[in-house]
Each structure stands twice: as C-alpha cells, then as structure tokens.
C-alpha cells in the first residue's frame, strides 16, 4: 500500500498516539487508496445488509407469528447460525462460486459481488433471529386484535415489520456491525485484490502481517469511526422518527 510509505517511517511505533496521527493524516489528505478501500467497505457491507434484510426481516417476522411442528428446532438452528464463523460462510460461498462450483460460470469469485453475497449469507441469520425475538413480543400484544380484524399470519408480517421498525433499526445495526467487522469471508471470496476487492478489514490484516502496525491501527480507527458514524446517524433518525410516531 502506498499510504504506508508516506505516512509511516520504518520500524514499529509503540505509541497509540502515532496511530491516531496517522489516521488523521489519512483522512486529512483524503488518501485516494484509503478512500477507495473505505468506500468499498461501506458499499459491500451496506449492500449485504440490504440483501440480508430483504430476506432476514420477513423471515424473522414470519417465525414470530407462525406456529408449526418443528418450530423450536428451526429457532435453535437459526440462533446457532448467528455464530456462523465468517471464514466458514466465506468457504461455502467460495465453493459455490469457484470455477468448478455450481455457480462457477457466473465468474463472480474474487469480485465485490461475491463479497456482498458472503456477507449477506453471514448476517441474514442474525437479522432473522434477532427480529424474530423482537417481533414476538409485539405479536403477543397484537395477536388477538389482528385476528379480530381478520388478519392472518401473512398479513400480520408487514404490520409487525412496520410497527417494530424502531426496534428493528437496532437489529439492522447489529447486522451492519457484524458485516463491516468481519474479515474471514471477504478475504476468502474477495481475495484482497488491491484496488478491486480490498476492504478495510482485509487491508488491516495485510498491514498487520506486513508489520506496519501503525497503519493497521490507523485503518482500524478509521473503520471504527465509520461504524460509529453509521450508528449515530441511525440513532438520530430513530429518535426523530420515534418522536413523531410514538
């Protein structure tokens, strides 16, 4: 990485302060390589979040309202999938997308698209399991009234998703945090190709292994600042909307 040459001299810097200085320098100079990595990180993780939400939230809502044989087993499996190791998720997607794999002809391996898929697979179970938990309480409160209105479980799903929107915001943030923080999945299916599939976490891993700890730490601080900003933004939106909707 070019940034390592300009922002950090040889050897190790034990001081956290120098990492801060490096981070500030990266931001202040708007280092194009770093900005590119940062933007790709955001793009990949937010797209993965959107995809996972599209599947995970309705699934969670449906599991909150539906009663069927084997439901408990499904919930246990879903909760267990929250602990799915990113490298395993990455490996599964790798096998699917590799040349010999069933989706090999699409040529998606080592592209940002593959990274989006891997992260979406990683966090969809988290979104489903957490939203199930959140919406089940709401359903307990609403169930009789909605049934009285003639709304079956299918019709209840959009109602719960809308009425639980503020609690679900936190669920989405948990999913985003997980996606933005993971390194194993994007490393395996993205390949950490400079200028193409390198994201913050893989860059940090690379700089660490190269021994450029201040730069690695600076990138880490930058990543945390971005996640903090996203959370603050979401919180602000939630407060403003909750004020209006009660």
């Amino acid at each position: 990485m070019t940034a390592s040459d300009t922002n950090c001299q040889s050897g190790r810097v034990q001081d956290l302060a120098s990492a801060f200085a490096t981070a500030l320098g990266l931001v202040a100079t708007a280092d194009p390589a770093v900005m590119r990595i940062l933007l790709l990180s955001l793009r990949v993780s937010l797209t993965a979040l959107a995809l996972a939400a599209l599947v995970g939230l309705p699934l969670g809502a449906l599991l909150a309202v539906a009663r069927f044989p084997g439901r408990q087993a499904v919930l246990v499996a879903l909760n267990a999938l929250m602990g799915l190791p990113p490298v395993v998720a990455g490996l599964l997607i790798y096998l699917l997308l590799s040349r010999a794999g069933p989706l090999g002809p699409l040529g998606l391996l080592f592209t940002p698209t593959a990274m989006v898929i891997a992260q979406a697979v990683l966090i969809a179970p988290i979104l489903a399991a957490l939203s199930r938990q959140v919406l089940e309480g709401l359903w307990e409160e609403y169930a009789e009234q909605l049934r009285s209105f003639g709304a079956g479980p299918w019709r209840a799903v959009p109602t719960l998703l809308w009425d639980g929107r503020f609690a679900l915001m936190t669920v989405l943030l948990a999913g985003f945090g997980r996606a933005a923080a993971e390194v194993g999945a994007v490393m395996i299916v993205g390949g950490n190709i400079e200028g193409f599939t390198r994201v913050m976490t893989t860059a940090i891993a690379l700089e660490t292994s190269k021994g450029d700890l201040p730069l690695a730490l600076a990138l880490g601080l930058l990543l945390m600042a971005i996640v903090l900003a996203v959370n603050a933004l979401a919180q602000g939106l939630r407060e403003a909307a909750a004020e209006r909707a009660g």
Partner: protein
C-alpha cells in the same frame, strides 16, 4: 342453507344435518374460515343477517379446568346484551368464543350467515393500538378489509369525529390517555360498521369521566343499530346500558333476562346474591 337466510329455531339433529349440506359447516365456530378478508364486501355489508346468534351446549376447557359448561342462549337484534357475573365466571372466554378468537371444546355457535366473521368487531379491556398515528389506527382495519387509502382515511376521520378525537388525528396513538385510547379503539371498531360489537370490560381501567364517555359512544352505536354484546363487572354500568342481562356464574349461564326484570329481582339465588354484593366469585 343460503347465506342470507336467518336460522329458524331447530333441534340439534337438524343442525347436524345442515353440516352435511354444502357450505353448512362454515357457520360452525369449530370450523372458522381462516382466509383473510378480500374485497370490500366486509364493509357495511347489508343491514341485517348475522343475527340472531344461537349458541348451543357451548363448553370450553382449559386443561382440566372447565371454564364454560353447557352454555346456551340466543341473541336477537335489539338493545345491548350485558354479560355479567363475578370474577372467573367465564365472561371474557365467552366473548372470545363468540368472536372466534377461541375454539369451543364442544357446542355450537350458529350465526345467521356464513359471512358473520366479517361483520363483527371486538374491543378489548386494554385497547391494542398500533404504533402509528391516531388516524392510521382508525384506518388500519379498513385498509385490511380492502378499502382504498383515500376512502379509508375519510371514513376513519368521520369516525374519529364521532368520538371527539378528530383534533388528535395526527398524534401518536400510544401517547393518548387511557380514555382517549379506548375511544380510539371504539372509533376503529365502529369504522368497520359491524353488525355485532363485542366489548370485553372496556371501562375496567378507566376513571369515571372516561367511563361515561365510552358509555355514551356505546349507546350511540346501539342507537345506530349495532348489536352490543358487552361484559362488565360494574353493576351500575350494566344498569345504565343493558337491555337484557346474561348472568354467568362459574361457567354456567344461570339466566338471560330483560334488564328491568333482572335488576328488579333476578330468578336465580346466585344472581340475587351477586346484586347484593355477596357473591364474590
């Protein structure tokens, strides 16, 4: 049996025979029609039809507990029917059975038409309000029933005006006071123009002024032709509202009597004790 026919009184054997005719089984509470409502037919569908409601041999068991035992009665069109009785008599369970929120262990609930489920509404002791504006709450069941957005909003506004909440239409529903919340729930139920409105102790957690406001709305709905079927443990309220009284005690229906006669002197010893305040459960 055709949908529009009202049910004549007939014995159990005839009712069973009806079950085996096409469409006959749908009038049984045991086989509720689970399909959600489509189209606009639900709203203001016809002026009559679902009454009289005939209940025969209704039993409800929760585990080993017999909550209701062999309850039978007929509800005709007309003034409010108040279901009263001490705590644990089975009043709320009876309403939920009639409204198909629970399935009976045995017995039959026979409405005049198979569409009965769509022409009734229920109000709960604690109003269940959506996390939306007052107006959106009132419009929600109308949208669910297939009304267009503009029409639903207009109808909802009109109903809110009826209960004096039109000034609060854009406020978050769950920030309303308890009395306002119950009035909103009433407006929301009334917007569906149900033929029968079930109310389960709607004033149990309200102060006297809010109680009076709810009673006035209930009386206005009754005057509009809505059949009111309501439980209460408040004898004063029962006196003010009831056209007839159904007295439940320990899961049995002990009497169904015109209100004037009931409060002058009930037939059963239990009801007499209840009126004297001596029957607590």
């Amino acid at each position: 049996m055709r949908a529009t026919e009202s049910l004549p009184r007939k014995g159990l054997r005839h009712v069973m025979a009806d079950l085996f005719r096409p469409g006959g089984a749908r009038i049984l509470a045991r086989t509720p029609d689970p399909s959600p409502i489509h189209g606009r037919s639900r709203i203001g569908a016809g002026t009559g039809g679902i009454l009289p409601l005939r209940v025969e041999g209704l039993c409800y068991r929760a585990g080993a507990v017999e909550v209701l035992r062999e309850v039978g009665f007929t509800l005709e069109k007309g003034g409010p029917s108040l279901i009263i009785g001490p705590n644990g008599a089975g009043k709320s369970v009876l309403l939920r059975l009639l409204h198909r929120l629970l399935r009976p262990s045995a017995g039959q609930i026979l409405w005049g038409t198979p569409e009965a489920a769509r022409r009734q509404a229920m109000l709960f002791q604690r109003p269940v309000l959506l996390r939306r504006s007052v107006l959106a709450n009132a419009a929600y069941p109308l949208r669910l029933a297939g009304l267009g957005r503009a029409e639903a909003m207009a109808r909802a506004r009109a109903e809110l005006a009826q209960v004096g909440l039109d000034g609060l239409a854009d406020r978050p529903a769950r920030r309303l006071s308890g009395g306002e919340q119950q009035r909103l729930a009433l407006a929301r139920a009334a917007a569906l123009q149900p033929e029968v409105l079930f109310l389960d102790e709607p004033c149990a957690s309200l102060d006297p002024a809010a109680t009076r406001a709810v009673e006035e709305i209930v009386q206005a709905l009754a005057a509009r032709g809505t059949k009111i079927v309501m439980t209460t443990h408040d004898l004063g309220q029962a006196r003010r509202l009831a056209a007839e009284v159904l007295f439940l005690h320990r899961g049995r229906l002990l009497e169904q009597t015109p209100a004037a006669r009931f409060f002058a002197g009930p037939e059963s010893a239990e009801a007499r004790a209840f009126l004297r305040g001596e029957l607590l459960w």
